[in-house]
Amino acid sequence: MAAVQETIDQVRQIDVDQYKYGFETAIEVEKAPKGLSEEIVRFISAKKQEPEWMLEWRLDAYRRWLTMEEPTWARVDYPKIDFNDIYYYAAPKSASGPKSLDEVDPELLKTYEKLGIPLKEQEILAGVEKPRVAVDAVFDSVSVVTTFKKELAKAGVIFMSISEAVREHPELVKKYLGSVVPVTDNYYATLNSAVFTDGSFVFVPKGVRCPMELSTYFRINEKNTGQFERTLIIAEEGAYVSYLEGCTAPQRDENQLHAAVVELVALDDAEIKYSTVQNWFPGDKQGKGGIYNFVTKRGDCRGDRSKISWTQVETGSAITWKYPSCILRGDDSRGEFYSIAVSNGHQQVDSGTKMIHLGKNTSSRIISKGIAAGVSQNTYRGQVSAHRKATNARNFTQCDSLLIGDRCGAHTVPYIEAKNSSAQFEHEATTSKISEDQLFYCLQRGIPEEAAIALIVNGFVKEVIQELPMEFAVEAQKLIGISLEGSVG
């Protein structure tokens, strides 16, 4: 059984956009030469003082990448990327291992301050009843500050940059790296495997509930620097962890490539919650500049009764190509995907999820809320499949699109495949517009147009916002408001 349905709503609308975080930090940066070659791969590996096996792993990926072709199936359109016109490594010079915040470049701290990132430990500690958040801030390619490491270590949780993990926990990295997203999974994942520079590593041992939310803020800063983060999160039997990721990037003329790989592994009875609030520069009014975001995120519910849930709020990037997925391998495992994708101006978003049901009694839930404004294109692409052995697989998908103005487009492309007759898949899709009546009603109550749109849109996405950790929910609501500013002419 296969069903492909496409709903296309083409509409027109004026756009303006203001990216609030378009500033650049003047910090000296150490760079590898432009372009990609075996030498560059070796350079990156050497910079990171990696063991031989890691270098070999990278080189193998690089050689395979050379034989691959860029995919073209997504509903996005962009000038051809010259992979030899990109820097594959950039590190803030002062980043060779600061021991505390005092050692961090003050320019860098100022940048974070402008972004409102609660980097300072005392601020985090001062949050009286708020859950504490450990921040592993990634500045360009190198992780510069890791807080709360000690307390986490006490619980047995390992939270560090992936480069450190390669050196300090090689047995874990060897065992899990590439086990969810194989080296040759897709063009961008293979590229990432060859040149990944940094990212987070989380290991929560058997029976441990991670004592705090883990949060990473990524920020692309150096001009023409491709970002190739690699994140690996492992929850052993009965472990629980919630990980938050947030991004903003300064304004750019040229498009910047971003190709991250995130791998999650949940063993028996383990649960991983992965939340993203993403706000990269989407490009200016003419559609110039902005981040190309080609990400591979996948979770493996490897153990029985394990659970992985993805929650994402996507407001940025010129082009987004992203499908956080779950492989439901363990019996009774569960995958969830909650998504808000906002596109404005000339943004192109092609995002969704894959739920691959392999084990018995596996279930999945997909709630996708797409908001399109300006002349943007917003596509939900989702795949739900049940393997022959996946008896009683269950999925519920709800996919709602909201159009602002009439020059944007929202598209829903579900792929459903059940090789087992006991599978029960449900799919609901709606497309609506913010009505004139709703807008006028809000205006009549004294709520100005932009605030009214933010209010109505936040109502539309409420189901997903509720899935975010508290401290992100507020930020996400603000971000949605900001990213829709100027969406009405």
């Binding site: 009505s435 004139e436 009546d437 709703q438 006028f440 009603y441 809000c442 205006l443 009549q444 109550r445 004294g446 709520i447 100005p448 147009e449 605030a451 209010l455 109505i456 936040n458 109502g459 539309f460 996405v461 409420k462 189901e463």
Partner: protein, 251 residues
């Protein structure tokens, strides 16, 4: 307080003229009833007063406290105290009634240069006003107007009016869809807001509501014009004889 002078207005999209030389004066402290058969332009007039862009004023003026408001957008008019209780209140999915109230109150305060309400102050005001209107606190947690019964919708409109404390209240067919008990509650709510510096325009095509909200003046609107003005007895006359006589006399 309100002076509408020789107002002509049409539907922006197709140019159909709906309001055709309308004159109306409402003083502070006054309750004015506008009556008229279906399709005569009552709702359109309420929309034009609140600045809806679907209509174009082609001639005449609307003076509010002596100043023309034609150049003001709907939110600006609202912040200056013009409130419309809608004939058909609009659903705002996912937005809790409480949240909507807070945003509306604070946006109006912001526009007037006043400080935002503190949460306890806001909660207190809402609780009091809701109790007056016999509104169940659970209703305030539900998305605004979504799945509300006809009576709940109308009560929610009056609740907003009470909290926003407007100067000019326009009630468009607030009685429609209400049973007699609900009608009394709503009427009590409106009467409680009566004050010497506030004017109320009650739009209806039945005189039933006017037993509870007693008007100072009654105006008959027909084909976009006020064809007759009188006191509350005019409403009774209409009730007894229908509109045909008056329309006939005006023709």
């Amino acid at each position: 307080m309100l002076e509408i002078k020789n107002l002509h207005a049409r539907i922006a999209e197709d140019g159909t003229e709906i309001i055709r030389g309308l004159n109306l004066t409402v003083k502070a402290g006054e309750v004015a009833a506008i009556m008229g058969p279906n399709g005569s332009g009552k709702s359109t007039l309420s929309y034009i007063l609140s600045g809806r862009e679907d209509y174009e004023v082609t001639e005449g003026d609307i003076l509010y406290n002596g100043e023309s408001i034609l150049e003001l957008d709907p939110a600006e008019r609202a912040a200056r105290g013009i409130f419309l209780a809608f004939q058909y209140p609009v659903e705002i999915p996912g937005v809790a009634t409480m949240q909507f109230l807070k945003v509306a109150m604070n946006e109006q305060r912001k526009a007037r240069g006043e400080a935002e309400l503190t949460t306890p102050d806001f909660m207190r005001r809402v609780k009091e006003a809701a109790a007056e209107l016999k509104i169940n606190p659970d209703m305030l947690k539900r998305p605004l107007n979504v799945g509300f019964s006809g009576g709940e919708k109308k009560r929610a409109e009056i609740l907003q009016m009470a909290l926003l404390e407007p100067k000019l209240c326009v009630l468009d067919e607030t009685d429609s869809g209400l049973d007699i008990d609900a009608l009394k509650i709503v009427a009590d709510g409106v009467n409680a807001l009566k004050s010497p510096d506030r004017a109320t325009i009650v739009i209806t095509h039945y005189q039933r509501l006017l037993d509870y909200i007693v008007p100072d003046t009654v105006h008959v609107l027909y084909k976009g014009q006020i064809i007759r003005t009188g006191d509350k007895d005019l409403a009774l006359e209409l009730e007894a004889n229908g509109y045909a006589d008056i329309i006939g006399q005006a023709a």
